[in-house]
Symmetry: C2
Subunit: 673 residues, 2 copies
């Protein structure tokens, strides 16, 4: 690489971009870990992007109509941290740069949205950022249609690496963006031809240009170290109505001894090589030192968007009070005032009418009541709309000619759907929910984890939640998925027993601000069990006494979802034999565990009563804590559920085959007495 020629051709630009390189080298050397090569290679692109194009005001990194910048190649986190420090971000001080990757620093190994205001999304697991970006761009389209171009009109920029493009998730993102002509989405591909194991050719020879074009993208190929070419390409990308991919040919770890090698991907910490690179760059600053004139130029870049922001604030102030309130409420993730009353009215109606429906249908009933009063919801399904019951009549379908549509046909892309929903939530002003079969939690899993880690309230509507699936068989029958979701920190896992609990679960999911929710819903019909209307949201307690023992309490049955009805039947059998039996419905273990001990003791008291847990899933899904712990008597509890994968047969026969029946529950209780 002829660094001298680059320096000479664009000296000002060179020094600005080299500030990123120098800080990256210093930050990584200081931490003795991290990834140097990517920020060094993409420094030119990032510099031009922020200097000439990004609508960004460092004084207000969360201003709603800013352009979004997503570092899909999250390991290159020093790129973001360098940019933010150089522009004068209040959070990313020099101290933070020096504490890169250290305990308590905001400058974590990978960018984390919950640590820094200016970080739009938590990245690192590859491919997530580019798929998040689809959701960001969709949210922008929908809100532009809802609020008007004066209030919402911004771009989503993504830097993605070879790793992002090799992950299958990226194909789902590319397909969605192409299908929906997300013209405000611009992906800058760091085309450096290097992965950890070697050159890209070692594992892939896909022509990325042809691949993106096959899905309807606008594609350009440029020298990623030529500022004029970068500028012109971004300019062209902003003009096209298609999503845009700019293939930026770059040299990883440019100017360093490790340039163009896999070694360059990682932590370049050798002091001599570092010094040599800085010398080659013509960089005069010492460690962590940015010459004042260069810092000043960057700070000016940081304030470029201030005028835009002020103009926007002016336009926003002129909007109707109603529009402002709605916008502010949605961005604050506050529920509309009507929500509580709406859910209560629905619950009352259900308790009176006592429908016998699948909870996936109960979910549709709740959404039909809620969607019209919450314009921030966006629904969808991964090609199972009629099965997931996620579409309500008022939503309209999002499409190129109907940007107001709030229902998205995601196609057979559970992972892409989950990641894009996260993107919508992270964008702000939206509450996305989307459905697939509970078993395909597996496909969406990397993004479901990131929702929890990122502290965003994405809602995953997972229907067909057990062997109740029936004939489709074990590939489609979740048994371990409740355990998977419950083991994940910061996740509400709801398995409602009837239409009332389903409405309550939706109320919690749509008022949560920092916790994603999983709704595990049945395929098969269930009776209404909450036949007595209560104003209080009982699901909020996680578990509660649904039916008290008649006479002396000898048994406590704890159940979730479809098995609560089984517990109620078992109670009848037991009471008929004089065995007083309490039934506890436990729609959300996380919320029950969060109650104080006094409440938990009321629901699961110490004493002589035996306990049986009932759930058509593996016991490992958190059952031992309630059956062995929580004041349980040793040897006086049991579990009725699944200990293997399911099978293909009609659902009723499967519940018999696997012993998930009232008779078996009653037998277990009697064996324990």
């Amino acid at each position: 690489m002829d660094i001298a020629a680059l320096r000479e051709k664009n000296p000002d630009h060179w020094m600005k971009s080299t500030a990123i390189r120098a800080l990256t080298l210093d930050g990584v050397a200081g931490a003795n870990s991290g990834h140097s090569g990517m920020p060094m290679g993409m420094a030119d692109v990032a510099t031009v992007l922020f200097e000439k194009h990004m609508k960004f005001d460092v004084a207000a990194p969360n201003w709603p109509d800013r352009d979004r910048f997503i570092l899909s190649a999250g390991h290159g986190s020093m790129l973001i941290y360098s940019l933010l420090y150089l522009m004068g971000d209040a959070q990313v001080t020099l101290e933070q740069i020096k504490n890169f990757r250290q305990m308590g620093a905001l400058t974590a190994g990978h960018p984390e949205n919950f640590l820094l205001d200016a970080v739009e999304t938590t990245t690192g697991p590859l491919g997530q950022g580019i798929a998040n970006a689809v959701g960001f761009a969709m949210a922008e389209e929908i809100q532009r249609a809802q609020y008007g171009r004066k209030i919402v009109d911004h771009k989503t920029y993504v830097i993605a690496g070879d790793g992002c493009l090799m992950e299958g998730l990226s194909q789902e993102a590319i397909g969605l963006a192409g299908r929906h002509s997300l013209g405000n989405l611009i992906v800058l591909w760091d085309n450096n031809n290097i992965t950890i194991d070697g050159t890209v050719e070692l594992s892939d020879r896909t022509d990325q240009v042809k691949r993106f074009k096959a899905s309807g993208w606008h594609v350009q190929e440029i020298d990623g170290h030529d500022p004029e070419a970068i500028d012109a390409a971004i300019e062209a990308a902003k003009k096209t109505k298609k999503p845009s991919m700019i293939a930026c040919k770059t040299h990883i770890a440019i100017g360093h001894a490790a340039q163009d090698t896999s070694k360059g991907h990682g932590a370049l910490t050798d002091a001599e090589q570092l010094a040599a690179a800085k010398e080659l760059y013509g960089w005069t600053g010492g460690a962590y030192e940015v010459p004042a004139d260069i810092k000043a130029q960057w700070e000016a870049i940081g304030t470029r968007g201030a005028a835009d922001r002020e103009a926007w604030e002016g336009r926003f102030a002129e909007a109707s009070k109603q529009k402002q309130d709605r916008f502010n409420r949605a961005y604050a993730l506050d529920a509309p005032k009507k929500l509580s009353a709406t859910v209560k009215a629905l619950k009352k109606q259900i308790s009176e009418e006592q429908p016998s429906v699948a909870t996936r249908k109960s979910s549709e009933m709740a959404l039909a009541a809620i969607n019209p009063i919450m314009p921030e919801t966006v629904g969808g399904s991964a090609d199972l709309t009629g099965s997931n019951n996620t579409k309500t009549g008022d939503l309209g379908v999002f499409d190129t000619d109907n940007r107001k549509g709030r229902y998205i046909y995601w196609g057979i892309r559970e992972h892409g759907m989950a990641a894009a929903m996260n993107g919508m939530a992270l964008h702000g002003g939206m509450r996305p929910y989307g459905g697939t079969f509970f078993c395909f939690t597996d496909y969406a899993r990397p993004s479901m984890r990131l929702a929890a880690l990122s502290k965003i309230p994405t809602v995953f509507v997972m229907t067909h939640d057990s062997i109740g699936v029936g004939e489709d068989g074990p590939t489609h029958q979740p048994v371990e998925h409740l355990a998977i979701c419950r083991a994940t920190p910061n996740t509400y896992v709801f398995r409602p027993a009837d239409s009332v609990e389903t409405a309550e679960a939706w109320e919690i999911a749509l008022t949560a601000k920092e916790t994603p929710s999983v709704l595990a819903l049945t395929r098969q019909n269930l009776p209404t069990l909450r036949t007595e209307h209560k104003l209080a949201n009982l699901t909020e307690k996680g578990a509660y006494v649904l039916a008290e023992a008649e006479g002396k309490r000898q048994a406590i049955l704890i159940a979730t979802g479809s098995e609560v009805a089984t517990a109620m039947e078992a109670k009848k059998l037991l009471e008929a034999e004089g065995i007083g039996t309490r039934v506890v419905s436990m729609p959300c273990m996380e919320l029950f565990a969060a109650q104080d001990e006094a409440y938990r003791r009321k629901v699961l008291p110490a004493g002589a009563a035996v306990r049986v847990g009932i759930e058509a899933a593996v016991r490992a899904g958190g059952w031992d804590q309630w059956l062995l712990g929580e004041r349980a008597r040793a040897g006086k509890s049991d579990f009725v559920g699944m200990a293997s994968f399911g099978a293909s047969a009609p659902a009723g026969e499967l519940f018999e085959k696997f012993g998930i029946t009232a008779a078996n529950v009653a037998d277990k209780v009697k064996a324990l007495l």
Copy 2:
């Protein structure tokens, strides 16, 4: 659709293919569930494939050098069942067709490899089959190089639908097949333009022809109802050295009232419409009835491969005894006789030398000893070779010019790697293992579940197994992944404490025949704890007493992996205060749970001793059963581990921050005493 013209043009072919359609309609109607449209639409393609091309002998569906047929669109299972019944498969009797999707039938809702010999792989979760097929084709290439073309020379055919191609996983498969020029892989795309939610355009407008070409595939487009075109295309596909995709334009549910609609995707059970379709077809057979002449033609197709098989058996008999033995041993999944002695020798050496290394390095040590004596192993990594330590010197790298290479650079494709590894295992004669970071279990998860369900011994080498990852932070730090893997039925989850346990875990993983293994390995160095050489494989018991209490036993510490060393340190602290402490190492909960009670009681006896579990992961990963159950005293146990996501900082500081230290363990014990 002009059915009359189709019938007239190729009357014989039409009746053969219509036999599939008729059986599909009858089978689905009988089950009152299932998917009619796909087998109906692809009946012509399947008929030509089996009649003219597939090397298949119905009398020996598991003959090793057969062509493989994979129904990636697994919901169309009646296609396979119809084919097998028509050709005279011994398992798929008419009774089985009539019992489609019923309890105990071999004709499950989706094709399951463990139910039917002729089903190569369990499909249903979309995209899996096409990615399995990459592994099948790689296994064929490797074995052809190992054994010669006389012994191994066959094709892998796949039928994939729009759903398979929308799943991101398919892109990983397409990229891999193109990169490695898997010329024996032929994908027949059921290009019917229909998904469950509507036409494909609703969610995708990708030009699939261009997309496959971008990754180096040979692509043809044909009328999927024209037998001559189908034949010619398959003929051309067999000749090219590239992987081949044939886009077969078809009409879903052809000839039925639901033709070309989403309704046609599902169960077509209306009796009148069914009768009308059969009449239009010119089909004279009643329900489940195939006219004798058509059945006879199909049975002749079923025996087409018999001569090939016999010729192969002749060639195989002429091969050297050594080659035959090796081949038969590998296909029987029998370990080489030397394995046991090799592992014992390695264990002895480790116990003597007592290295302090990360268990990912211990794993490399085990592989370095084992790979040279097990030519059926195939290793790889999803672009983390140097981190996963999966590559040993003897393997050679699989490439277009080195088909003997047994190491695969999978690229950044955890999911594709896992699915292709499953394909290799399902192909037979191979033992695949592959690595990524444990956190990215998430990406591979759908295929890991299928390995367990399919009863195949794929080995997942998951390194960087806790907050020991350090600076990379919570996106890269698993906390719930042990729980996820342990909640999955039929999965061994090993978390070895040192190099000896790692060698033992590998021995179990590489002798397992029906159970996949997950090896959770550390990034950070660990001391050798098994300093006294034992011939017995103690890991096989799942848990064992690593160190006995001195004097009266007051505490039992149960730990896995890196935390066993922490337990040993805590023991020292406690014994110094006169508190007799037993340390139990528990490298595999599943195997311990499978021991008889007498053994479990020996390890975890009843009595006064308090128990503390230690694992740098969430307690939900199966801990309550050992801490609250299994003769534990109420209120006399505790857990030291993670209750949240991790953080970005040096590993040592993180263990301090989250309290996973010997001092904290000792304090917990003392608080319980």
